[in-house]
Amino acid sequence: MEKDGLVVVGASLAGLRAVESARRLGYSGRITLIGAEEHLPYDRPPLSKEFLASGEPVDPVFRAERALREELGVDLRLGRYATGLDCRQRVVRLGDEEVSYSALVIATGAQARTLPDTAGLRGVHALRTLDDARSVREALDAGARTVIVGAGFIGSEVASAARKRGLPVTLVEAATVPLTRSVGSEMGGLLAELHRRQGVDLRLGAGVQRIDGSGSAESVVLTNGAEIPADLVVVGIGAAPCTGWLEGSGIDLDPRDKGVLCDSTLAVNAPGVYAAGDVCHWISDLFRGRLRLEHWTSAAEQGSLAARNALSLDDAKPYDTVPYFWSDWYDSRIQFVGEPHADDIQVVDKEWEDGKLLALYRKADRLVAALTVNRPTLIMKLRRMIASRASWQEAVEFAEEKVRN
């Protein structure tokens, strides 16, 4: 059994950043990076964007294997599942093998939710991994009639990719308005127009009854009885934290989604253990409560900080951020900063003909979030205003002034 060192479980964005930050801080001990996928760590946002476009796809791998093993000196264990954790003995179990740690970063992310009774049916895919993306891409290359279940950001990006290739697309969403949780219902309704304009058959308020087909998918039957022919069904109904391996370890998990509960420094309720990325709920001072995000920027930042805090025992720094995500639909760059639970949303500018939008979210007398479409120069200024707890009035004046110019 190996003694000591930093162990990182989950070899994706947060895990990679943890390893890189440990080395950058001068940590020279042993580092083990354990990842369930066979692939080298790769980037996920391109999987529903560039990777699905016609033309030669490029695997969005972050680092060459040599860079990881030799330059960063990482003991890379790919294709290996962590199956258990013993916080008292300080060991991570990989089946029969045990890897001991002095510091541990949990970065096992999230996995796509699936529809019941669809396992084994060809042509039905989630879109979370490189393997998923390859399958979806192959079906698009073959000219699939595409049905997407779930009009969230990933489903919407797949719809864009399929429409850009001229394929027929039906987007099915159980809620009557899409994206309510991410941007609020008013704005969700507005964004949905982007799909209609591009000829997507948008079915709102319709659940999936079943997927028919023998061997491979042939049609999707909705709860309202409608039957939509399909060669490809992409299921984008959200993701759930990968924490099955932590069951029984004594690590505190969220009762609802089983994410790992952390304090404001990303520390977990066991010595030397931190968590980062999509898997973790942490306490945000700025938004006064626990947050779990599934955003690239925070996963990267948390990965770096979790390793730093895990290795420097006495001065753990809190993590805080104004959440930020982006999404690319057709020719629209959608950007969102902040926390969408607002008292009120004000559309400052809607040049919808030109595809532009700027909306501000107010809670009490503070700016708490902003949504833009094709307004890349404003969004980060608004993000900084939210971080500095700018007043609502200040934010509205700033936005109106910018829009006028």
Binding site: P45, W296, T297, A300, E301, S304, Y324, P376, T377, M380
Partner: protein, 64 residues
């Protein structure tokens, strides 16, 4: 130090601007302007953070 951007990689996500607004600004057309290519003093660490934060790894620092 000198900051450079690989325009074939930058997709105007603006993370650099939010970390170092003194150094970077995304324009309305989605292009990135480096406001100060040769930062000094405390701006150097902001520049390093921005390079690290860029989701597309489009930024580089060349040390003098």
């Amino acid at each position: 130090m000198r900051i450079t951007v690989d325009r074939s990689k930058c997709t105007a996500l603006g993370v650099c601007e939010s970390l170092a607004p003194e150094l970077f600004e995304v324009q309305e057309d989605g292009s990135l302007i480096i406001l100060n290519e040769r930062p000094e003093g405390s701006l150097c660490s902001a520049a390093r953070e921005a390079v690290e934060g860029c989701p597309t790894e489009a930024l580089r620092i060349e040390e003098d």
